[in-house]
Symmetry: C2
DNA sequence: GTATATGCAAACCGTTTGCATGGCT
DNA sequence: AGCCATGCAAACGGTTTGCATATAC
């Protein structure tokens, strides 16, 4: 029953942006936003979680789905590391801590960081995003 | 003669951080900082430039050298794109424009961008850098 | 002489792609 | 019925690695 509610919820979440609510999308969406908490996840990690949850989905579809979702504006892509690529379920503008030792990405606490004197975009260009990454390392 | 001066200069630049001034390092260093102007360059691009300049160096050494230089504090590594990795010859804290259409990385004009209310680093961690990337796309 | 840098080619790894199959409307 | 999503496996591309050779001190 809770399950049905969840599925209904993400189905709408998909419909709103014109995406077909296929089985894989619904189940991945539930893993991503089903519990109403925010997360920063990589494709590989989501694939693992899907396997743990006995969801039948291929790695290619996980990649496809994450990109489709982020192009549709349901997720934000965050690039902090040359290797991996993170997807953020929080959509508002906010900055991140990147833990270089563990590879974890978290939101910065509070939301009061602000930028003064943001430069104007050069002519014939527009700003798509302003990404702020605060890189952390363990203090010894 | 100008050439000798340049080589002497980068030799010192290397010595100061305890790096052996080998032929490849000297020549790559000249390509990087020899002309006193700042640049944002990828390993592949530097390798191309080296070939153009008839410098005998392997791609592996270009990668090695760029990492060695950045670990020694002679260059800054900038991550903006999941694929490539950029190295910045400017060492002070500054923000970047990233042109998504062309893959170019440039400094933002002026230097008056400032951050208010930077969050405190969590306990047992310290900030290694605060990276600000302003992503741009062409306006149609 | 010894430690370190270099070159080469092969391995690596996250990601993407092509194409045949399956599912949604 | 038709379009779109999925799965598989192979390709991709920037980067890294292992090891033999060459170079700096």
């Amino acid at each position: 029953m809770m399950d049905t509610q969840d599925k209904f919820c993400v189905t709408n979440w998909l419909y709103k942006v014109g995406l077909r609510p296929t089985q894989q999308r619904i189940e991945l969406a539930n893993l991503l936003v089903g519990n109403n908490s925010h997360q920063h996840i990589t494709a590989e990690r989501l694939f693992e979680k899907a396997k743990e949850a006995k969801i039948s989905v291929s790695l290619a579809t996980v990649y496809n789905t994450l990109h489709t979702f982020s192009e549709a504006g349901l997720l934000n892509k965050v690039i902090v590391d040359g290797a991996r690529c993170y997807f953020d379920t929080r959509l508002d503008n906010h900055s991140h801590f990147y833990w270089e030792d563990t590879g974890q990405l978290t939101d910065t606490p509070g939301n009061f960081l602000e930028i003064k004197n943001l430069p104007e975009p050069p002519i014939n260009s527009e700003i798509t995003s302003v990404d702020i990454i605060i890189r952390l390392k363990e203090k010894n």
